[in-house]
């Protein structure tokens, strides 16, 4: 109990001090994407958001605690994805933010996680000068779709490999962060098409720069945070993980 309070106090303290130097990270800013890609990414993202709404409606009937869980994780994804963390990497001092979609994908399911990310990104685009309205579809694709599904499948694969709950969460968080930035690199790499550049080369270059600067360190931090959150939920209320199908049977001890 005391430990949980301390962890929350640290998170809020970091949030408070970081708000003075509000900065940005993976979000693609207004005006970067040309109209054809704006429409394409919106067309790709919207079906996932629609399915997410359907899943929320269905699951809230099956599990009473599901809506509060959506609220908690929605707020967490919102705060995580506009929470600049100072990182000292190869290029010196930089800041970047985690995504939180790995955690929400594991606990809510990938489709609901896309919905939660879409809402967070919309609020950030409207009020925090963070991302953009025309680039919302692109940001939902990278952070919502790629981040959520990669994190979810990484968790499932880690479970199949019989890794402990912490390491399953760690991989989910880390992989979702990596794939989010891979998505951003792909979206930027696509800009060279028709301008004589190589898409693969541009994508690889941007992704490499992301990893070498701040994101390489930050994806490990995100993995650790997700791992600890899953262990916390398991210790505090294992029934939630059982209901969500993340733990097969609560009579079997889960290796943490």
């Amino acid at each position: 109990m005391t430990r949980a309070v301390t962890v929350f106090a640290i998170i809020f303290f970091l949030l408070f001090i970081s708000s003075e130097n509000a900065v940005y990270a993976m979000h693609i800013t207004e005006g970067i994407l040309p109209p054809k890609w704006v429409i394409t990414w919106f067309a790709v993202a919207m079906p996932f958001v629609g399915i997410g709404i359907y899943h929320v409606k269905r699951k809230k009937r099956q599990m009473p605690v599901y809506l509060p869980l959506v609220g908690t994780l929605g707020a967490a994804v919102f705060v995580f994805s506009c929470f600049p963390i100072p990182v000292i990497a190869l290029n010196g001092m930089a800041t970047s933010h985690p995504c939180g979609t790995g955690m929400s994908a594991v606990l809510l399911g990938p489709f609901v996680s896309v919905l939660v990310a879409a809402i967070a990104l919309l609020i950030q685009a409207l009020f925090l000068a963070h991302g953009g309205l025309t680039t919302l579809g692109g940001n939902i694709f990278s952070m919502g779709i790629l981040g959520s599904f990669s994190g979810y499948f990484a968790f499932k694969i880690a479970q199949r490999c019989r890794l402990s709950l912490f390491w399953c969460g760690f991989l989910a968080g880390m992989v979702s962060d990596l794939f989010t930035y891979l998505g951003t690199s792909i979206e930027l790499g696509l800009l060279v098409i028709g301008k004589g550049g190589s898409f693969i080369k541009a994508t690889a270059e941007i992704f490499g720069v992301f990893m070498m600067t701040s994101q390489g360190v930050l994806c490990i931090v995100e993995g650790i945070v997700v791992g600890f959150i899953l262990v916390f939920v398991y210790k505090r209320k294992p029934g939630i993980l059982l209901h969500l199908g993340l733990v097969k049977d609560d009579t079997k001890p889960v290796q943490i």
């Binding site: 929350f8 949030l15 408070f16 708000s19 003075e20 130097n21 509000a22 900065v23 940005y24 990270a25 993976m26 979000h27 693609i28 800013t29 207004e30 005006g31 970067i32 994407l33 040309p34 605690v65 509060p68 869980l69 609220g71 908690t72 929605g74 707020a75 967490a76 919102f78 705060v79 506009c82 600049p84 100072p86 290029n91 010196g92 001092m93 930089a94 800041t95 970047s96 609020i123 685009a125 409207l126 009020f127 925090l128 000068a129 953009g132 309205l133 930027l188 800009l191 060279v192 301008k195 550049g197 541009a202 941007i206 720069v209 992301f210 600067t213 939920v233 505090r236 209320k237 939630i240």
Partner: protein, 116 residues
């Protein structure tokens, strides 16, 4: 009798939610929507005080995404609702942090600490 009380409670909770949302809108919207307009009307010189300038602790959105977008001929432009002016961004980030923290704390308590 119990049903009647439960309906009353639900109504009271709904009223509280409406008041809370109205409060947030009142606090958040006017500065966001009218800040730029008022500065222009009063002729106050706008100090270039954005966080987009590159330096120590620059966000990688500026140092990587912005740089590559510019290289590929699609430089970023100002958002439609530009809150990145002076302390306005600090204000909206603080409000967002407080509201986000409140929602998280409220639901964490409900899920993990309240008895069923």
């Amino acid at each position: 009798m119990r049903n009647h009380e439960a309906t009353k409670d639900t109504k009271r909770n709904k009223h509280k939610t409406v008041i809370f949302v109205a409060f947030i809108i009142l606090v958040l919207f006017p500065p966001v929507l009218f800040a730029e307009e008022n500065i222009e009307k009063k002729g106050i010189p706008v100090v270039a005080q954005t966080n987009n300038e590159e330096g120590a602790w620059t966000g990688i959105d500026v140092s990587i995404v912005g740089k590559y977008a510019e290289k590929y001929g699609r430089p970023p432009r100002d958002p439609y609702i530009n809150t990145d002016q002076g302390d306005l961004l600090l204000f909206v980030f603080t409000v967002a942090g407080v509201v986000g923290g409140f929602i998280m704390g409220f639901n964490v308590r409900k899920i993990f600490y309240e008895k069923e």
